[in-house]
Structures are given as C-alpha cells and as structure tokens.
C-alpha cells in the first residue's frame, strides 16, 4: 500500500535516512521530517480516529494546531499519548501507534458510532441514560468511559528527567517567522537581551513553507542567514523546539523546551524537557496565523487538509499527500498551493473557488462560484463532488483536497489574561484587542498583518518601539523585500445544506450540532462550547471555534463579533506534566531536613518518620525486638527509671533581643512574661487573634534583653512569621529584634531521674546543676566538654526530672555521642518520637492533636493562663460567648474500664446510655498510647463539660472500625499529677 509521495527539494537531509514504525509497519524518512510528513511521503494518509464517531482521519495541518493525526509515541513508561504526528520530529527507531481504535486503525469496531450519529447528537447524553437509576453507574457510564478518551498511559513510571530554569530578557520574541526574525535581528543588533523562541525545530515559520515568500532570496536561505547572525550575538538566545505556553503576570512567560524529544532516548543524565520561567521586560507575540477549514459534507476524510499545510508539506518536507490534489478555497492564497504542487508534477484537477470572480490559475481549471458538496473514500479520499455555479454537479477524482477558508491570527497568548479579541472586517478574522498582558505587543500575522512584507516590517517596528520603551535605542534591521499583496478573501464558512459538515474535527462537532444548540437556546458562545464540546479537544479549537461562531451568527442573524468571541487559556499547546513538575518529584518532592545527629541515629538502626520536612527518629529497635511496641515501651520505662535522650533539634527556636523584648513576649503570649526573671523559663501559650490556641512552647530569659523562644516543630515557620507581623505591623515602636535560630542550635532532651547525674558528667564543673542552684524552670548559658558553649534549660515534656541542652549545630552529633557515652553507666537510652509521645500523653501535655486549631485555652484547661490584665493577641476575642459555654469541650484523660481495651484516637465519645449518633456526641479522643507504666491503653480527649465529669463512664465508639469501648474520664495527668518528679 505504500507509495512514494516524496517530492524534490525541501529542507530534509536526504543523506540521513531514518527508519521508523507506525502500527508495526516499517517505513523510512529523512532527518528534518516529522512523523506526519514521513508518513505522507510513504503514502500513508490514515493516521487516527476521531473522538466520538471514530471516523478515519489523516492530518489536517502541518503544525501544533493538529486535531486529527494523534498517535501514541514510544512505549512502556515513555509512551506518550495524543502526540501530534505533525510536530513529532522523526528520529531513527521511532515507534508510534494509532489510538482510540480497536482492533486496528483500518477496522475499528467503535466506528459503529458513526452509523448512529443521528442519535449521538450534541448533548444527547443529557437526555437519556436516566432509567433505571442504577444503570447509569453500572451499565451506561462504564461503556461511555471505555469508548471515550484518546490515547493511553501505560501506568508505568515515566523514567525521564525534567528540569526547570529561569531566564531574564529585555525582549522575548515568540515565534521565529518573518515578524519574529525581523524583531530579533533589530533588537539583537541594538544590543538588547533577546530571547527568540519557536515551537518548531526549524526557525522560519511560513518563510520555509513558501516558495516565493521573498523576492531576492529564498525564504529558507534568508532564515539561515538570519539564524547565523543571531546565533553569533552573545545577547541573543535562540530557543528552537521551545513553546511559550503561557503569559502570566508582570511579563512572566512559561515556556517548555523539548531538549530530547527528537532523540530516541534522552542523553544519560540530561532532561527530556525543560520548563523555563522567562522574565521579560517586553514580549513580542509573533505567532503567525492558523488557517481555517471550510465545513462541507464529509469534509473530514483522510487526505482533506488545509491548503497551507499541503503547501508546507510539499515545499518544506518534499512530501505530498497524493498525486492528485483538488483545491477548495475562498481566497487567492490557496491558489499558490495548486501552483506549488503543479510545479512538482502533482496533478491538480481543479481549483474549486467559492468566489464567482476568482482569478484564473495557469495549468488548472478554476471552478468559480463552486462548492464541494460531498466527498467519497472510507479510509482516504477518492473523489469530491462539486456543485458548479451553473447548477450542475461534477465529480473530481483526487486523493487529497487542499482547502482554505482564510487565516486567523494565532491569538493564544494574547488572551491569557482574559483579553478579548476584536473583529477585523478587512481580513474577516479576530485580531488582538484590548487587555493584552502588560508589556506584550503583537506583530505580523498574529496581529492581522497578513503579508510577508507587512510581517517583516511590523516585526522590526515592534522591536524598535519595545526597546524605545526601555530606553534602548534601536533602528529597524535591514530586511529582505517581499512583494506579496494582501490576499483577497470572501468570507465562506460552510456549504449550506450539508447533513454532516465538521467544524471541530477531533470532537466530532458538526454544523448540525451548532444548529441543535441554537434550537435549544445554547446560544451564548460559552454555552455552545460546553453543550457541543466544541473547542474542548486537545487543539483547544484552534481550527474550529471561528467556524462554529460563524454558523451561530447566521442562525441568530447577528454578526460574528456580536455573537461572541472565544478566548484561549494557557497552555497554548498541551504541556507534559512531567516537565511542569520538573525535579520536585519522588524523593525530591520536598526538601528533606536532617538533624545533626541523624547519622548517629542511623548507626543505631533508628526507624525514621517524616515530621513536616524533617526526618526524626521514631524509635531505636534493639536486637531481638520484633514489634515496635517492644522498643517504645523499653525506651519509656528506661527513661522513667533512669535516663533517656531525645533529639529535639526540630523544635522551632527564635532569638528575641532588645530593650522591649519582655514587653514584646507579653504581647504574643497569652500569659504574662514581663516579670520573668533572668535565668528562668516559662511555659507560654500563643493564641491566634481569634482566641484559639495555636502553639505552645517555652521562653527562656537569658538576659534582661534576651529571650529564647521555642515553638513546636510543626509551627516553627508560622510562629516566626506571626511574631514578625506583631513586631513590624503592630508594635513598630518597640525595640526588639527576632531571628530564627532553629538551624543554628542542636537540642537534646535529657530526661529521667538520672538526667542530672548524666549531665554533670559533661557540663563543665563550674556550673552547679543542683536543685537549689538550677531548679525546675531554670535556664542558663553554660559550657560543656571543656569550654563548648551551650544552653541549658530545665524543662520537662516527659514529666521527669529533665533538661534540654543546646549546642551549636555543628557540635550536635558530637554531643549526642558524648551523652550516650557518658550515659553508659546509667544504661541511658536514646528515645524517639513515639516514646516522647507516650510520655507526654502520660503527663497530659497537649500537642498538635490537641492544639488542632479549633481549641481555646479554656478547652485545654489553660483558661486561667489567658491574662485579662494585659493586651495580648487573642484575648479580646477569646471571651466570646460561643467559646465560653458551660458545656465547652474540656481536655481530659480517658482510661478503658477494662485495661485490655485499646483507646483509639479519633474515636467519638457517647454517654454510657442512649443513642449513638452525631446529635449525642460528647466529644472525641485526640491522642492515644499504650502506657507501659500504667499497663493500660490511655488517651487524651475533649469531652463536653469534661472538667466536671471526672469518674464518669462513657462509650468510646469507633464505628469506622467496628469498635466500642467503655472508658472512664480521668485527669489528663496520668503520671505524677503533683509534679514532684520534675521538681526533684
């Protein structure tokens, strides 16, 4: 079936032959080919199937606006669905498969849909599949889902790398056609920082697709010259294979560079694609124009293409879709297609021109005032039926049709900030209107300048004016001459009376669908799009929106601009999600923060857990321990009976200094700090301004004007931000400075009855740690291990005699090792976050599960801490009635009545008798643990009016997991409620 449709000339390198396969068949092409051009050259027109009716399709275009020729490229984890064959650069070994068909592209059983198209009109699914009710999910929807979709992912992980980068420039030129090249040369020669980006792998745009674009030099030769000059300039960055996909605020553009899609596999260690964020002072949109099709009966057969695309395939790629090509157009531009094809020996049986006054073309017949009213050929065009001006019909045998309804400026990027295009009656197309992104200008065909001559000049002029804005003097580059005249065009959108004339090829939206939408009052353009799915396909309606608007305008009797316009949204063309994710995937999704003693903990075989971005040791299994509880219980018991050490470096630490430091802390904490003596630590509770408790920690006064604040690990960033807010925005007059020192200090909790003895071994002897000199809640700057500066805080989260000791980060590892070495005689254990959690629950300390963003100081049993005698963040609103009801939630301890029962965190509490439902909810369990001291599961939780309900039995229900447990409300302080141990 393959046939040689390769022509002479073109910008392909015939010295480099490339082998490839499509649906398992082998072909060859040349360097410079796209998959589509190579397939056409091999005589293959059928490349895909449409979405809804599974109609056989070939390429419509030669660019990124392609709706039809979509394939699955590559295989396995690299399989890329919906790849446009028209822009897929050919490489040796390329393998592609057609998609959305079964069992084969030629014989697709789902093409049965086409037979039933009369039933499958726009929005048909909204009107049926409702009965019986259960059938939608069980029967109808699964069938629809299976039939829908285009290409497929394999589900395998994508093995390729992606990268991101940042670029800055004076002028970003988007599109390297005549306007873009003229602009880049002008700006480059003026010394401006220029980026020239083009989605194509070959610069030049239409200059390399036309035979006579320039007068004195071939377009391709001039492009080569211009490219060489630009490449020689240090201030110009040429970016072929780069799609600028989005215009964002303040001159920022998103672009994706396809570094390796033209290779079989990316070079080892190099990215497949790179997403660039380009910061431009000015951006020139020189994205050219997109040709529009004409709607007529069966206008979607393989071989029916846009005239400009046929020309591009012939001139640039030396490929023709067929040996016999009819042209159908409403304008002169398409006549050039006939001339170019005939010059290559391709038969052009006729040009069918809708205009009665169309000019003649030498070498073929121009059927003036004629229309194509039908076509034949199931898997590829075989003939077209022409309605002549005289009223007769005539069949023309041809295997391709080059059609043109005129050209639309390619507006994508001009609409990304919701700018509305306006109608230009001269060219019968929308052009950029107001509301362009700030700093954006448009030139060339994108701006409705539809000749090469105008494009060159407007590109150069736009560059001069943009640079002028920036104060960079520039003169227009000398440009080659082009003598093309504006194209004569007579609007023609669709052949009347067609039963099925395609507007949106991919989504199978026909003129009839637009008529139905109109009939049912989906007249607003947005309703039309949504009801018919027009423009929702992978091409975003680049070739279809305008035609549908024109049909709707006819139906409503309004003009096209009165009917509406549609805007385009980013991205300009679809962008690989892998590229947008870049490197921040897998293990590198977020940074990983390690404490200074992480390596030491690894050596102890610690099990680690993610805590925000930190990795913390969760427990330290010893030989023979097969269940995590064995390790945790041992760590708790050993700490409570002797001494344990826990890495608490991840706690937030904020240095507060200045004459007003105490007054400042008084403002940010609910409780008072003004009178805290030097050398003392105080527990502090922070409220949000709405009176809800959000963080707790300690503040240690190291000097009259110097405090160290600690926060929870989770809130370190937030607390610091809020403190800076209070400092800069609420108390700007205060003399106080803040800095986060979280990463400057390594900090360890040393807890247990032997903690003092252990510390005495490493703290330098001049510092007295006795209970008299360094009592509970004392703090001080000390030295350890013979002069290493350190900070010591006598605070306790476990409820034991305990300290936290901090040393500069770089000594953290050494200190940990030293502590464990010195602790050998006490059989000191390291303990992880699990044991830490068990001990704080035993002690009844609130943590993140209790400070959940909805609980007040009152709920936490800390109501009295909120001072009414001073101003602090949150105190006024904490007094609102709804937060102070008698049955407010209260933090209590919960103990199973039967010690064998577990107390699941997240269980809800119900009265001992009565219904179990939301209306009778008494509260919930926030934290739970097994207490090896009490030999029982225990929990903390909030209970309505719970402070006065000690001793009451409740049912703890966990219907999620089918549990129900009888629990008793007890004090939250399970261990040492009087606090004797920590004061020992």
């Amino acid at each position: 079936m393959t046939r040689n449709n390769r022509l002479k000339g073109g910008l392909i390198n015939r010295d480099t032959s490339l082998n490839f396969t499509f649906d398992g068949n082998s072909y060859s092409g040349f360097e410079g080919d796209t998959l589509a051009s190579a397939l056409l050259a091999n005589g293959v027109r059928l490349m895909g199937r449409s979405f809804k009716y599974h109609r056989p399709r070939g390429p419509l275009t030669a660019g990124s606006e392609e709706p039809n020729a979509l394939v699955e490229l590559r295989s396995g984890g690299r399989q890329e669905p919906n790849t446009r064959a028209t822009v897929a650069e050919l490489y040796d070994g390329l393998d592609a498969k057609s998609q959305n068909r079964w069992p084969s592209l030629e014989r697709d059983v789902m093409a049965i849909n086409d037979r039933f198209s009369n039933f499958l009109t726009a929005g048909f699914y909204y009107k049926t599949f409702m009965w019986p009710k259960a059938f939608w999910e069980k029967l109808y929807e699964p069938i629809i889902r299976k039939a829908a979709g285009l290409g497929s992912l394999t589900g395998e992980d994508d093995p390729d790398l992606y990268d991101k980068g940042f670029l800055h420039c004076d002028l970003l030129v988007i599109g390297a056609g005549p306007a873009g090249l003229a602009a880049a040369l002008t700006a480059g020669r003026a010394g401006a920082q220029v980026i020239l980006a083009d989605e194509d792998f070959h610069l030049g745009g239409r200059l390399i697709a036309e035979t006579g674009a320039l007068t004195d030099i071939s377009g391709a030769d001039w492009v080569t010259q211009a490219q060489a000059e630009l490449a020689s300039m240090d201030n110009v960055r040429l970016m072929p294979r780069t799609t600028v996909f989005g215009a964002y605020d303040h001159g920022i553009y998103g672009a994706v560079e396809r570094n390796a899609d033209h290779l079989a596999v990316p070079t080892e260690g190099k990215p497949r694609q790179t997403v660039w964020r380009i910061y431009s002072k000015r951006a020139l949109v020189a994205t050219g124009a997109i040709e529009r099709p004409i709607a007529f009966e069966n206008n979607d057969r393989p071989g029916i293409m846009l005239a400009g695309a046929v020309r591009a395939y012939a001139n640039r790629w030396a490929a023709t879709p067929a040996q016999s090509v009819v042209v159908f157009a409403n304008n002169d531009d398409a006549h050039q297609t006939a001339r170019d094809l005939m010059a290559q020996g391709i038969k052009v049986p006729a040009i069918v021109d809708t205009r009665a006054d169309a000019p003649d073309v030498e070498g073929t017949e121009v059927l003036k005032g004629a229309e194509i009213i039908n076509t034949s050929g199931r898997l590829g065009l075989t003939s077209v039926q022409v309605q002549l001006a005289e009223g007769y019909t005539r069949d023309l045998y041809c295997e391709a049709l080059a059609m043109s309804g005129g050209w639309n400026p390619n507006l994508g990027l001009t609409c990304h900030q919701r700018g509305r295009p306006i109608w230009n009656a001269d060219i019968h197309a929308f052009v950029p209107g107001d509301g362009l992104p700030v700093g954006q200008i448009v030139a060339g065909a994108a701006n409705g300048e539809m000749t090469t001559d105008a494009a060159l000049k407007s590109g150069a002029a736009a560059a001069v004016s943009a640079l002028d804005d920036l104060g960079i003097p520039a003169t227009q580059a000398e440009l080659p001459t082009a003598k093309d005249a504006p194209v004569s065009l007579s609007p023609f959108w669709h052949v009347k009376g067609a039963k099925r004339a395609w507007l949106d090829y991919q989504n199978d939206v026909t003129v009839k669908d637009v008529k139905l939408a109109h009939q049912e009052n989906f007249i607003s353009v947005e309703h039309l799009k949504r009801y018919t799915t027009l423009g929702m396909a992978t091409d975003q309606g680049k070739t279809s929106n305008i035609g549908a608007l024109a049909v709707m305008a006819e139906l409503t009797g309004k003009s096209i601009p009165e009917t509406g316009s549609t805007i385009f949204r980013p991205p300009y063309t679809p962008v690989s999600m892998g590229a947008l994710a870049g490197r921040a995937v897998g293990r590198d999704f977020h940074p990983t923060r390690l404490t200074p003693s992480h390596k030491w903990a690894e050596e102890q075989d610690a099990v680690f857990v993610e805590v925000g971005n930190w990795m913390r040791a969760q427990w330290f299994p010893r030989k023979g321990e097969i269940h995590w509880r064995q390790s945790v219980d041992r760590e708790v018991l050993q700490t409570r009976s002797s001494v344990g050490v826990c890495d608490v470096t991840t706690l937030g630490k904020i240095d507060v200094q200045g004459a007003n430091a105490a007054a400042f802390l008084n403002k940010i904490y609910a409780n008072g700090f003004a009178k805290l003596p030097v050398g003392k630590v105080r527990y502090g509770l922070m409220l949000r301004e709405d009176g809800v408790a959000y963080d707790d920690g300690t503040a240690a006064r190291l000097a009259e004007d110097h405090f160290v604040v600690t926060t929870t690990t989770a809130n370190a960033v937030l607390v610091y931000r809020n403190m800076e807010f209070v400092r800069q925005c609420l108390c700007p007059e205060m003399d106080v400075q803040l800095i986060s020192t979280t990463e400057a200090w390594a900090q360890y909790a040393v807890a247990g009855p032997n903690s003092r003895k252990l510390l005495q071994k490493i703290v330098d002897p001049e510092f007295d740690l006795s209970n008299e000199v360094f009592p509970f809640m004392a703090c001080g700057e000390i030295t350890v291990c013979g002069g290493l500066r350190a900070r010591l805080f006598r605070i306790s989260f476990s409820g034991e005699l305990a300290y936290e000791i901090a040393v500069p980060t770089r000594y953290g590892d050494a200190l940990m090792r030293k502590l464990m070495e010195a602790g050998e005689e006490f059989d000191a254990v390291p303990y992880g976050t699990e044991a830490l959690g068990v001990m704080r629950i035993e002690k009844g300390h609130a943590a993140g599960n209790e400070l959940n963003g909805t609980t007040s100081a009152l709920n936490l049993g800390l109501g009295r801490m909120v001072s009414t005698k001073k101003d602090c963040i949150g105190n006024v609103l904490s007094r609102r009635e709804g937060m102070n009801t008698p049955d407010a939630l209260a933090l209590v301890g919960l103990k199973p009545v039967d010690a064998k029962d577990a107390v699941p965190a997240g269980g809800h509490l119900m009265n001992k008798d009565g219904p179990i439902d939301a209306a009778h909810d008494q509260g919930y369990v926030t934290s739970a643990a097994y207490s090896p001291i009490l030999n029982s599961s225990i929990g903390l939780g909030f209970v309505k009016g719970g402070f006065d309900r000690k001793g009451e039995h409740l049912r703890l229900v966990n219907p999620l997991e089918g549990q129900e447990v009888l629990v008793e409300i007890v004090s939250a302080h399970f261990v040492d409620p009087e606090g004797e141990k920590l004061r020992a």
């Binding site: 101003d871 105190n875 006024v876």
Partner: protein, 98 residues
C-alpha cells in the same frame, strides 16, 4: 507576579507569603468600650474590593520584611510597595496626633 521590594528590588512573588488586607495593621484598642465589636470587625470583615487593594505580604524566603503592597485585584497590577513597618509607624503617629 513580581513584587518590587523597597530594599531588595524586584523579587518573584513566590518568595513571599500572603496574609491579606493591610487594615490588619490597625489593631483596635483592647480596652475600648466596644472592643468586642471592634475586634470582630477588624479580624473578620473585609472590603474585599475588585480593584485597588492594600495588602500584606511577608518576604519569608528573603529578608523577612512585611510589606504593604497596593495591587489591583482585577488586573494584578502592582501600584506601590511599602515597608509595613513604615506604614504602621505612620498609622500610629496619626492615631496619637488625633
């Protein structure tokens, strides 16, 4: 977006953390007779304009300045950027002058 930091020059907005309306600088007097109402209005009610909006941004990945940015919420155009501390000081001076 790009925020032109008064001290550091143009910076990508991604370096900043957004808080909201700059009226959050004008915290009411906790001892006033209508403190409950005043704090309610201060914390919860917003003009929420479609147009110019003075708002607080924190240069979290930078110098940790709070900034007052005047920005159009329809176009995202930024009209001015001030140090929040300067704004707060000026507001305090105005209050004490009254």
């Amino acid at each position: 977006m790009i925020i032109n930091h008064p001290l550091l020059g143009p910076r990508d907005a991604q370096e900043f953390t957004y808080l909201g309306d700059a009226t959050l600088i004008n915290r009411p007097d906790w001892q006033s007779d209508n403190a409950a109402q005043a704090f309610h209005d201060y914390l919860y009610l917003r003009d929420n304009p479609a147009g110019e909006h003075r708002e607080l941004w924190f240069h979290e990945q930078g110098d940790r300045s709070w900034l007052v940015v005047t920005r159009n919420t329809v176009t995202h155009e930024i009209l001015s950027v001030e140090m929040a501390r300067d704004v707060a000081k000026a507001a305090a001076a105005e209050r004490s002058a009254q």
